[in-house]
């Protein structure tokens, strides 16, 4: 009975979301205040019913109601209670429901904080968000109903995929979705602006924190996924360029571009059409990611679980949302475009260069991800594009961006000022070269490690140079507004990430060794003594657990316990044992028994690997920090062109702009 209530709640939410889409938009078109006024209550109503459906599904998991097919497939009696929560989003149907719930949380927040926006614009924004929710709810109800019954109910369920039974993965999907879905706000703003044919800089300013927060969450989600792959897959890799990872990385790249383009539109009124286009791209890529992951269209030969009906639905939805948005952009962008011309060496120009690089990088990732499909379409045989393609092109594209990065904050809006460039360049490059020499003296050899040290120092020193300049020039108390502090954090994060990515790649020592109890492997400067394998038991798994004592120059460092867990259904999951450190991780994972107590053991030394995630987290902090800036709060009734310290363009009449 209770699951049927969940289904009913979903149907009601679908109806409300349909109304939330139609009524306010028609109201804005007909200038009908009563119709526009429905938006708020419809948003709240839809949220309540989606939350109810989600709570009911969670309840079904907690009480182990195996008559619900989705519960029976993703849980069993032995599953610990905390994983029963995360099992709600452990597979397709539930994660879709989570997607809608998070979309509703964002929509609710926009409805709550956006009351000061002009009425028509506000109504259109909520209407667009309603349309997105409608599409996903319809998708859920028609192809992926989480409440479908399984009669007769089995005595026990199957299991939550053991790969997902990891604390890191409890939070990974919600955080990632917060990012994906968060771009829907910038998207809704863009569409509302195009529908209305006008765009105030103040509206873009107000949408900035939403984009920053979404991007921060997406950074965190990607970091969590990468960290999970590292600790759980047993290979010690942190990024594989597989379609699912790429699906989250493309919106991140475009989101990074959007964060900066919005700053230009906010501060200078420029890049207006481009900002709208990026907002459409960022959300479209989030939808595309959903499509790629769920339709099975890409992994055609390798994925057999996908349901073609789902693929067709998402493709149709994608075509309507993205195609409709891009068509709207093509037809109406001229009404909102415009802005001041750029000076060649101004901050806008550097931001634009960064934007182009990020966008082209996203397009490159998209091309590489879709290439196998192109191969099939033109009968070129099965081609897949691997890490070398991505790695090479990505480094190539990011080089100009990294080189320009310290200089964008140092440049001035609208005006060229190359004097500061020259002063900064000598110091930044000097410091970078110095760091390279220090690294060389400390024992770094080869092109890549030195490149990692110098490039990272270049970025961090460049950011520090700006911070110092600002300290000297701005009056106390107003030196680092939160928006700027966020920029500094994120840019330092880029430097830290570069160090981590390049140094881990070039300095890692990875050995697969066969060890009998008592034998020792020497990896890097460490001795790994294998003590043998015993058995241990967890809440719903049995594990073979190895003991490896690590020492350096005879003094003990740590004892590691890598595991191979066997879950009730016979699935085996490796659990690497990691000794984390700021400068290096020691990583041991268990392979297979070789007889006589000997085991194949993977022993890795991964220098600076944590810097990768530290960099990503700094970028996240940057996004959140910038979003908290008071400047972004809606202070007055927008719509009246506001006299502001930074020049903001009022919406120009179409004739002047076309």
């Amino acid at each position: 009975m209770i699951p049927e209530l969940g289904q009913l709640a979903l149907i009601l939410a679908l109806i409300l979301s349909g109304l939330q889409c139609v009524l306010p938009i028609v109201g804005a078109w007909r200038e009908s205040k009563p119709l526009m006024a429905t938006a708020r209550s419809l948003v709240v109503g839809q949220f309540v019913f989606v939350a109810m459906a989600f709570a009911i599904l969670t309840y079904a998991f907690l009480v182990q109601d195996f008559s619900v097919a989705y519960v029976a497939q993703n849980s069993n009696l032995e599953l610990p209670w905390w994983y029963r929560f995360s099992a709600v989003w452990g597979a397709h149907e539930g994660s879709l429901l989570l997607w809608v719930l998070i979309l509703d949380v964002w929509t609710l927040a926009v409805a709550a904080f956006g009351g000061k926006l002009p009425e028509k614009f506000y109504a259109r924004v909520l209407g667009v968000l309603g349309f997105v929710a409608f599409g996903f709810l319809l998708f859920s109800l028609t192809t992926s109903n989480p409440f479908a019954r399984l009669i007769p109910a089995p005595m026990d369920g199957v299991d939550l995929n053991p790969v997902l039974q990891d604390p890191g993965l409890i939070m990974h999907p919600p955080v990632l979705y917060m990012g994906y879905v968060g771009f829907s706000v910038a998207f809704a703003f863009a569409i509302a602006a195009l529908l209305g044919g006008e765009l105030h800089s103040s509206w873009v300013r107000w949408s900035r924190p939403w984009t920053n927060v979404a991007w921060g969450f997406l950074s965190a989600g990607i970091v969590a996924g990468s960290w999970w792959a590292y600790s759980e897959l047993g290979w010690g890799g942190w990024w594989f360029w597989d379609p699912v990872e790429n699906a989250s990385f493309m919106p991140w790249l475009v989101g990074a571009a959007l964060v900066h383009a919005q700053a230009v539109t906010d501060k200078r009124g420029g890049l207006r059409a481009w900002t709208l286009l990026l907002a459409i791209f960022a959300f479209s890529l989030s939808l595309l990611g959903t499509f790629l992951v769920r339709s099975g269209v890409l992994t055609s030969v390798h994925s057999f679980a996908a349901d073609p009906k789902r693929g067709v639905f998402i493709l149709g939805f994608l075509a309507v949302v993205v195609g409709g948005s891009l068509l709207l952009y093509a037809l109406r962008a001229r009404f909102v475009a415009g802005g001041k011309p750029f000076a060649l060496a101004s901050r806008e120009t550097l931001i634009l260069i960064g934007n182009l690089m990020l966008t082209v990088a996203a397009a490159t990732v998209l091309l590489g991800t879709l290439y196998p499909l192109v191969g099939e379409a033109f009968n070129l045989g099965r081609i897949s594009v691997g890490a070398p393609y991505f790695g090479f092109l990505f480094m190539l594209l990011m080089t100009p961006l990294v080189l320009a990065l310290p200089f964008a904050p140092l440049s001035r809006w609208g005006k060229a000022d190359t004097g500061i460039w020259k002063r900064a360049l000598t110091r930044i490059v000097g410091l970078a070269v110095l760091a390279g020499i220090v690294a060389l003296v400390l024992g770094a050899r080869g092109f890549m490690p030195l490149l990692g040290v110098t490039a990272s120092t270049y970025v961090i020193a460049g950011t520090a140079f700006y911070a110092i300049k600002r300290w000297k020039e701005a009056p106390a108390g107003r030196r680092y507004p939160l928006e700027m502090a966020g920029m500094l954090f994120a840019h330092v994060g880029v430097g830290v990430f570069i160090a981590g990515a390049i140094l881990t790649r070039s300095l890692s020592v990875e050995q697969d060794v066969a060890l009998s109890p008592g034998e020792t492997a020497h990896v890097a400067a460490y001795d790994f003594q294998f003590k043998g394998v015993g058995e241990t038991q967890g809440p719903n798994w049995l594990a073979q657990q190895g003991t490896v004592e690590v020492s350096k120059d005879g003094s003990p460092v740590v004892t590691l316990h890598p595991q191979k867990r066997t879950y009730p259904r016979g699935q085996v999951q490796t659990e690497a044992s990691i000794h984390p450190g700021v400068f290096r991780d020691l990583y041991v994972s268990l392979g297979d028994p070789l007889g006589n107590g000997a085991w194949a053991v993977r022993v890795y030394d991964k220098p600076f690997v944590r810097w990768i995630w530290a960099g990503g987290l700094l970028m996240m902090v940057g996004g959140f920090c910038a979003a908290a800036d008071k400047r972004f709060r809606l202070r007055r009734e927008a719509g009246q062109p506001a006299p502001e310290a930074t020049p903001a363009l009022p919406a120009l009449p179409a004739e002047q702009n076309a």
């Binding site: 339709s295 055609s300 057999f304 493709l315 093509a330």
Partner: protein, 181 residues
Amino acid sequence: MNARLIPFAVFVLIVALFGFGIVWNNYHDPRYVPSPLIGKAAPAFDLPRLEDPAQHVRKADLLGKPYLINVFASWCFACGQEHPVLMAYSKKFGVPLIGYDYKDQAADAKAWLDEHGNPYHEVLADVSGATAIDFGVYGAPETFLVDGQGVIRYKHIGPLTPDVIARELDPAIKAVQGAAR
């Protein structure tokens, strides 16, 4: 032409590509491709063993008793899904399960088997994939049942699941064993 139409035009191309992908998957769903090889003699092969490439295994070496050939690769995602099933069932088939490592590096395949366990009686390595063409291998994983006379009796494309094993593979094995007796 309005340059702002370009993103839309590119997107239309991408949608066309996806539409093609879905249609192609529907019509080419490998599960419904009947293998022309069923009822025909398995192609002759001569492949090195994964563990010891100096030793070769020929089709003739295996004649006399039925066996299963399971095409897999360490790069193949679906093989990872299938693997626990093989681990659980390989001893229960009643016929030897021979691994066919398809277009794979030996080191990768060994590491993969170390990682996930080795359900195979024996593993053959087809690094170039040349012999796989004779078998009509379409993509990993695939599973062939070959009888004592060296004739292919059953083929499954895609991961074996407990359901497929119960409904299709086990009866086919029983039939082959019954015929042999």
